[in-house]
Assembly symmetry: C2
Homo-oligomer: 292 residues x 2
Amino acid sequence: MSPQGRPEGEYRSAQHEGNPVTPQGPKSEYAIAAQQDSSASGTLLLVPNTLDLGAAEVDLQDVLPLAVIRRAAGLRYWAAEDARSTRAFLKRVDAIVPLGVPLQTLDIRELPRPRKGSREAIPAQEWHALLAPALQGHDLGLISEAGLPAVADPGAALVAAAHAASVPVLPLAGASSLLLALAASGLNGQSFAFVGYLPQESAARLARIRELEGMSRRLAQAQLLIETPYRNGAMLAALLEALAPTTRLSVSCGLTLPSGWSRSEAVAQWRARGVGVVMPDRVPAVFVFAAG
Amino acid sequence: MSPQGRPEGEYRSAQHEGNPVTPQGPKSEYAIAAQQDSSASGTLLLVPNTLDLGAAEVDLQDVLPLAVIRRAAGLRYWAAEDARSTRAFLKRVDAIVPLGVPLQTLDIRELPRPRKGSREAIPAQEWHALLAPALQGHDLGLISEAGLPAVADPGAALVAAAHAASVPVLPLAGASSLLLALAASGLNGQSFAFVGYLPQESAARLARIRELEGMSRRLAQAQLLIETPYRNGAMLAALLEALAPTTRLSVSCGLTLPSGWSRSEAVAQWRARGVGVVMPDRVPAVFVFAAG
């Protein structure tokens, strides 16, 4: 992307603008946070994972910067979606940069999960408890099952807890399949929305796709969505059923994997191709579409 | 993120659903593309750049996977936003993995720019012409000034041209400041929109911020936006003026840089902090907010 990509003529200097920010509003909560000695606190490091979950493993150095692998190797405290897969990840790290302490002695805590059938939010103190190592001065790694943590996963609540407790948050450079798919789509990267999962029920899903297509048209906004891998074929079918022929649809499947591919064309062209498109049922995919 | 993060009980197997896709619609355009011998074509590689544009350079291995550096070192043909900064990038690559051919002999073409004052789209044949090396069987790199190419930059048109010409598109793993900022915000990663730049004019900008806040509330959607670095201070002031006290605002500044930071709290807390927040005027920032 181009952080400085606008034509120069449009700029006005910030120096000539007054700063309307004045110290107003409730101070209590911030004042409490500020009273903590944040210099004694460790950092919450957001550690990117690979994108090969459920597929054949790629070389860690294909997808992660060496510095990220080094930082991961040095961390003793972890918060993770899944402890077992985090240990598997750290074994791969260890093969490149030896871990600072033996794998068995690492402190890996799993993120709390909502109780089965319960829609109640997890109490704030459960998140805060996970921050204990950081509050005691140790760096703490947060990792998810794939890609960036705290994007489309429960880790976001831990990041929010860290900010509330004045624990510094440091995202390490890593890839998100969402943005790789957007880049590979050739669709509008100036304006896009990630809408997560769609309803499972067929009629509701078709209605939702049409609603999103309407938003895409109205806002000139590309729409990104994902599905559980083994339902990707059904999702593609639903998109081709619901979308207008002129809408552009991109599918990226298995990004960063040797078998990965990206295809982007009008829905009419996808339909012409028909059943020739096979979606593997164990490989993550990202769908992007933009109304034509 | 969790591509498989939904509870198992919600799934239905795709095998039990019919495929409503039937070969319908116009076949002409696709048929033409399919006639090409795509096996003879090179690949359009989307090469991520660092996020240190305009700042002190970071070590390339802090932010890019070794495999990406190797692929970049081996490419002879490039399409770039800016040839000069691409050569500077490739000098940094060369220091880690020697380039396949001398820097001076690389073929680096700049993306076409709209004529000054013109709002006319660049003709499709100009984009197609840039694909010449790929159509002749060579791999072609696309790179932007920062982060992923074809996200919030003109490269998306080249990617679209590649798809139209059946040139395979391969995004290499790299970081986007947008998603790093979202991860670091702790705000809702399940649903978010990137809205690009806001209007420059003060009243229009405030109105747009309030419109986006309304969407954030209605859709439970985090809103991401960027600004030219030297206007970041003015943008923060406008956000603090326009947003509701309970809206959560996150600012990530200089991500992946040693001086980088992320802060996330309610607007009321930001206001209490007042002018104590200094936005550097040469460092890229990403703003994220979510209505409370």
